[in-house]
């Protein structure tokens, strides 16, 4: 289904935009939770300065205790430190992959909307991408490229680059469709026609008049895109084709934990909860943004 989100209102109504956003309880809670998770993941190592890679075989498979608040795994890694480190990987993948997908989607959408004779081929390409079986292709791509990229860029950067590119290149289509629709609607507006009449060059037109006015929908799909990217990454890691155990993301921690779930079930629960909470908060945030940016929806909800 195509999402109808209105363009960003003019400057003087920014205040009411905030108020509308603030009235959406779920969105505010979502924003707070997401900010808290980000802060915990970034500042956590200063509060809990345990090396997640430190092995302590004597203290393996422990239940939560004061020394290890979330317990330890089969090699005696501290799981709280691991969870914080894994969160940095997961969130970074989510943000960078979303940036790539939204950038690509915006580029394709704006090009298709502005250049008339590029519209049909670009949209056919988008349709083709939408009918590709993405999950199998992602798995295949990661399996086939993993070793050569790891050899080229080092074990951590290589797999990071591969996963971010794979997710980014396969999730730009929705953004492209939304952006194209917005640009097409915008093209009929008087101020664009006036700008054309004044002789504005195409690039300046896109930068000064089109992009600022479609910022709202782009922002919404960027927010929802973060959740999608984190979910995809953790699914890949769970299938054993994402991050390896030495650079664990939340998905990989969950995957590694499943073998020990009869012994220490909390090993599975914490990373899973972390993924769920992050995605849930981002989705609520995106929902609230969409409602705040689209005055029609708010009126519909108040009826």
């Amino acid at each position: 289904m195509t999402d109808r989100a209105a363009s960003l209102p003019p400057l003087h109504s920014r205040v009411s935009l905030w108020r509308r956003f603030g009235r959406h309880r779920g969105a505010v809670v979502g924003m707070v939770v997401f900010a808290a998770i980000t802060a915990a993941v970034l500042l956590g190592p200063f509060v809990w300065p345990v090396d997640p890679a430190q092995i302590d075989i004597a203290a393996k498979n422990q239940s939560p205790s004061l020394a290890h608040p979330l317990g330890t795994d089969q090699l005696g890694h501290d799981l709280l430190a691991g969870l914080l480190a894994g969160g940095r990987v997961s969130l970074l993948v989510g943000l960078v992959a979303m940036g790539l997908a939204v950038g690509l989607g915006t580029l394709v959408g704006v090009l298709a909307g502005v250049l008339r004779h590029w519209d049909a081929p670009l949209m056919r390409m988008t349709d083709l991408f939408l009918s590709l079986p993405l999950l199998p292709l992602l798995l295949v791509a990661i399996m086939l490229w993993r070793d050569s990229l790891r050899a080229q860029f080092g074990p951590e950067a290589g797999i990071f680059l591969l996963i971010v590119c794979a997710i980014g290149l396969t999730s730009w289509m929705q953004t492209a469709r939304i952006v194209r629709g917005e640009v097409l609607a915008l093209r009929e507006r008087e101020f664009i026609i006036a700008a054309t009449a004044l002789g504005t060059r195409p690039l300046a037109m896109i930068r000064r008049h089109i992009l600022p006015n479609i910022l709202g929908p782009i922002l919404v799909s960027a927010t929802l895109g973060v959740g999608h990217a984190i979910l995809t990454e953790s699914a890949l890691s769970f299938l054993g084709l994402g991050f390896p155990s030495d650079v664990p993301s939340w998905g990989r921690m969950l995957f590694d934990g499943t073998n020990y779930m009869t012994l220490t079930p909390t090993r599975v629960v914490w990373p899973g909860l972390a993924i769920t909470l992050t995605v849930l908060s981002v989705n609520y945030l995106g929902d609230g943004l969409r409602d705040a940016l689209d005055p029609r929806r708010v009126r519909g909800a108040a009826r």
Partner: protein, 333 residues
């Protein structure tokens, strides 16, 4: 309508060919050596012969056309021969790791996946129907709030986490259901049927929950739109019972877009089954794909991926056609 269907069917052939080419090139251009997993003691010239034996020395376009010939011409003809009871000797798509025809591997795994996916669709729809109708009838009521929350959970909880959680609670702690799906189990009497149902409960529930979340939201939106229309007010003014208004008048008008959404969602359910099968160790198509990927079995992976693409194109087509059939106001010609 009929000519429209024919036109769409004809148009999907070049689309599928384009997709098959994209998939083939993606897999083919990647740096991958099928002999890399073999023991290191095999000398390089034998390795070269092995690669030649797999047909890897031919140029890319020749291998692509060969794959097309085997998939589009040989396999259907073999199927026909098989049905007539004839023995056929055409060259078939061979798996590199098991050296058996790919199609036989797929036919072996298909029933498990179809059962799980099919049941989860049916149960998802059965949950979504009352939830969507009641959410729309009492908008902002507690059913609606509950439905919104469940849908949000459905979109945000990863299926593998939900699956693993269910295993911890229901298999490890309570011991109600087996955590591993036994595909060699044969249903012969009531008792074995019970065992079969019990092992299907968890995989089906996980998938069904996601289906229900998605379908109920669309049904709610569609019902809301219908319930605000004049003919509903007329129906109520005539003194019809609420159930009749909802089911006869509103639902029939609202169900069209929802059927489209369900049809578009079916390929996604198959993709979701890849993950769910991995969680519950169901040896269906998803597990075949994963094991094929891990052993570098290119023909198997290529064929399976393409079959997933066929599913997507087919159900997109079906969505358009059923939309036209269910709503006579839609005219394609």
């Amino acid at each position: 309508m009929f000519t429209y269907t024919l036109r769409r069917l004809a148009f999907s052939i070049p689309v599928l060919l384009a997709i098959s080419l994209v998939i083939f090139l993606l897999i083919d251009l990647a740096p991958n050596d099928p002999t890399a997993n073999l023991p290191l003691t095999i000398p390089p010239e034998i390795r070269e012969q092995l690669r030649t034996g797999l047909g890897l020395d031919a140029p890319t376009h020749v291998r692509y056309l060969l794959w097309c010939k085997q998939f589009f011409i040989h396999e259907p003809l073999n199927l026909l021969d098989g049905m007539m009871g004839n023995e056929s000797s055409r060259l078939r798509l061979q798996s590199w790791s098991t050296h058996t025809p790919v199609m036989e591997l797929i036919a072996e795994r298909l029933p498990q996946t179809l059962w799980v996916v099919g049941l989860s669709l049916v149960i998802g729809i059965l949950i979504a129907l009352p939830l969507g109708i009641l959410s729309a009838r009492h908008q902002h009521g507690w059913v609606d709030q509950f439905g919104t929350f469940v849908a949000m959970l459905g979109f945000s909880v990863p299926s593998f986490f939900l699956g693993v959680l269910m295993i911890i609670v229901f298999s490890v702690k309570l011991g109600w259901f087996p955590s591993i799906y036994d595909t060699t189990h044969r249903v012969t009497d009531w008792h074995s049927l019970g065992v079969q149902l019990r092992q299907m409960v968890m995989p089906v529930t996980v998938l069904a929950l996601f289906n229900a979340a998605q379908f109920s939201r669309f049904l709610r939106a569609s019902m809301l739109e219908t319930l605000h229309q004049d003919f509903i007010r007329t129906a109520r003014a005539k003194g019809m019972s609420e159930a009749r208004v909802l089911l006869r008048h509103a639902l029939r008008n609202a169900i069209g877009p929802v059927v489209t959404v369900i049809s578009l969602a079916i390929p996604q359910v198959f993709a979701g089954a890849i993950i769910t099968e991995q969680v519950f160790r169901v040896n269906g198509l998803g597990q075949l794909l994963i094991s094929g990927i891990q052993s570098g079995d290119v023909p198997l992976v290529q064929t399976l991926t393409f079959l997933f693409a066929v599913l997507i194109v087919l159900f997109n087509l079906m969505a358009d056609i059923t939309y036209g059939l269910l709503d006579p106001r839609i005219r394609y010609d």
